[in-house]
């Protein structure tokens, strides 16, 4: 019988929500466990040996401590494929939202009341440190994207990626446009789709949890929102909630 692919599922600085997405696949978990060997999954209390090698490691979270970096390097070395799992791993996410606004050392002192450890790292995405083979965006990621990845791994490949903005699925669902029809601060045009416009379909604006879409015209979205009467700082705060590194001048 063919060897089961070995999986590692781990988290760095994050809320564990992405790993919970795995546990939320109730219907698929029996099949997943039948097809894969989940060798390392601290949140689910599997512990692997030190010399374990993995076919794929799904890792959530931003890198913000020396321990995070050590875990990331160790899993990179031990895994054939490293998958950035969720928005924090891809863009820094919520932990990184204030990177541009405040000094880490000062922040540390005010929260912990002592001098910061010298290995403090401003929360950063994986690609700042290691090569990433595939990524699944979302805060949290869509279950369907996770299942598609696992199915593709079994077939010896990686899933096709979606590269359209939230507006595409939003229009196709015949939603009322929150940006144009209701004058709300919706980031749909510049945010990666694939969520089936989950929020706008229920009347909630797109807050950008899936990060920038590849062809985002960031400067024009900013201009449009300013023209529609929103405050520049409010727009920046909203945009940096999940992705701190926007280039607000980017048009191409």
């Amino acid at each position: 019988m063919k060897r089961k692919p070995k999986l590692a599922i781990a988290g760095l600085t994050a809320c564990s929500g992405c790993q919970l997405t795995f546990l939320n696949c109730e219907r698929e978990i029996p099949t997943i466990l039948d097809r894969f060997q989940v060798s390392f999954f601290p949140l689910g209390e599997s512990s692997g040996g030190d010399d374990e090698r993995f076919d794929a490691a799904l890792i959530e979270g931003a890198v913000s401590t020396a321990q995070d970096l050590a875990t990331l390097f160790a899993l990179r070395r031990a895994s054939r494929l490293l998958i950035a799992f969720g928005t924090c791993a891809l863009f820094g996410g919520v932990a990184a939202m204030n990177n541009q606004l405040c000094d880490r050392a000062e922040l540390f002192r005010s929260v912990y009341g002592r001098e910061p450890e010298k290995d403090l790292i401003p929360p950063a995405p994986f690609t700042n440190f290691v090569a990433v083979d595939f990524s699944i965006t979302g805060c949290p990621p869509e279950k369907t994207d996770l299942v598609a990845l696992l199915g593709s791994l079994l077939a010896g490949t990686l899933p096709p990626t979606t590269c359209y903005p939230v507006c595409m699925e939003c229009r196709s669902r015949e939603n009322s446009c929150l940006l144009l029809d209701r004058d709300e601060l919706c980031l749909g045009p510049i945010i990666q789709g694939g969520c089936n416009a989950r929020c706008p379909a229920t009347g909630i604006v797109c807050e950008g949890c899936r990060g920038p879409v590849s062809q985002a015209n960031v400067a024009q979205e900013m201009e449009l929102l300013l023209e529609r009467g929103f405050d520049r700082e409010d727009i920046r705060r909203r945009m940096s909630r999940f992705t701190p590194g926007w280039n607000y001048e980017q048009r191409d």
């Binding site: 598609a148 079994l154 096709p160 229009r171 015949e174 045009p189 015209n217």
Partner: protein
């Protein structure tokens, strides 16, 4: 010439007459305020004076996501569409012309089985409209339609356009009165664009640069276009060694549309905009020289930044001043 007259009071009976041909869908206003084609159970659901629906009737023929193959036991099999009989009631002439164009694309030399399967189960009932600021059309262009209803005060003039249309009318003889009225002719507010010279996409009209600067690449223009049919084909292996191959609406405003192994045909936003122009107004082979713009006006109305490709044509052909970006306050407020 004697015409068939359907009094307003007979509309419900007319809808009942259509029922044997499939579930009746027509223009209605959804709970979220969006005008859409959706199932109709009584004439009260119908929005007979609608301008246009947000998403055109292509959603019935080319669903956003459409499974085309399933993989089981190492073998690919076609995934025939689940296509119930359907009556689309109240389609405007532009949308009927769009279906006629899609028929040319998908039912040509090598018919697409999923499209064909859905199309043959579709009965089309047209309805006259009143043009708005965004639309323009050429009533003389071919339109796919079984029956057409011209709205007048207190009723409709009904004309059959296919054997199926004739059959429906013969089944409802009691419903129709004889009339001397003639259908009112549409008076479009703007002339329709004629097929364009493909080289026009390289024109140095400054409007191209301006549009490329402001285009958000949100894709609304293409998603809402009744003749945009580009799709992406993707395959998703499943956990049980099977899989699904599906097609999904694609969009030439997106970067991935022009990407191939090792390169990108359309690297800049300007290239992508020009490509949309090329397809819409110049046509591809084998439909080279056929404009696929039916003038419904949805793209200009749905665009968050007021891009209207017609302006590129007007400036070049009439020597007019480049039009400025439309004031954001106009035209983007309604959803209908």
């Amino acid at each position: 010439m004697r015409m068939s007259w359907l009094p307003q009071g007979h509309l419900e009976a007319f809808l009942n007459l259509l029922e044997p041909y499939g579930t009746v869908h027509g223009p209605t206003v959804l709970e979220n305020g969006v005008t859409a084609l959706a199932p109709i159970t009584s004439p009260d659901d119908l929005e007979l004076k609608y301008r246009h629906t947000l998403i055109p009737p292509k959603k019935y023929l080319l669903p956003f996501r459409d499974p085309i193959l399933t993989l089981n036991d190492g073998c690919y099999r076609p995934a025939p569409p689940v296509a119930p009989n359907l009556v689309l009631f109240g389609l405007h002439r532009c949308d009927l012309q769009a279906i006629s164009y899609l028929d040319r694309v998908f039912l040509g030399d090598d018919p697409d089985p999923n499209y064909a399967g859905r199309r043959e189960r579709l009965t089309l009932v047209g309805l006259s409209c009143e043009p708005d600021d965004f639309c323009y059309c050429d009533p003389a262009q071919p339109a796919a339609v079984d029956l057409f209803l011209d709205q007048a005060e207190n009723g409709f003039l009904v004309t059959p356009h296919s054997p199926r249309g004739e059959k429906i009318m013969s089944e409802g003889t009691g419903l129709f009165l004889s009339s001397d009225h003639l259908p009112s002719l549409l008076v479009p507010l703007a002339p329709p664009p004629t097929p364009q010279d493909p080289e026009l996409r390289f024109s140095d009209n400054p409007l191209w640069e301006e549009y490329a600067r402001i285009c958000l690449s949100c894709g609304a223009c293409s998603a809402c276009c009744p003749t945009c049919y580009c799709f992406d084909v993707r395959e998703y292996p499943s956990l049980d060694h099977g899989g699904n191959r599906l097609r999904e609406w694609d969009n030439c405003l997106f970067k991935k549309h022009g990407e191939v192994a090792g390169g990108d045909f359309r690297r800049s936003r300007l290239d992508r905009l020009r490509y949309r122009f090329l397809h819409k107004y110049c046509g591809f082979s084998p439909l080279q020289g056929v404009t696929s713009c039916v003038g419904c006006g949805r793209c200009a109305k749905a665009c968050p930044v007021g891009i209207d490709l017609r302006n590129v044509l007007e400036v070049t052909y009439r020597g007019a001043e480049p039009a400025t970006t439309r004031d954001q306050a106009t035209g983007t407020g309604e959803v209908s």
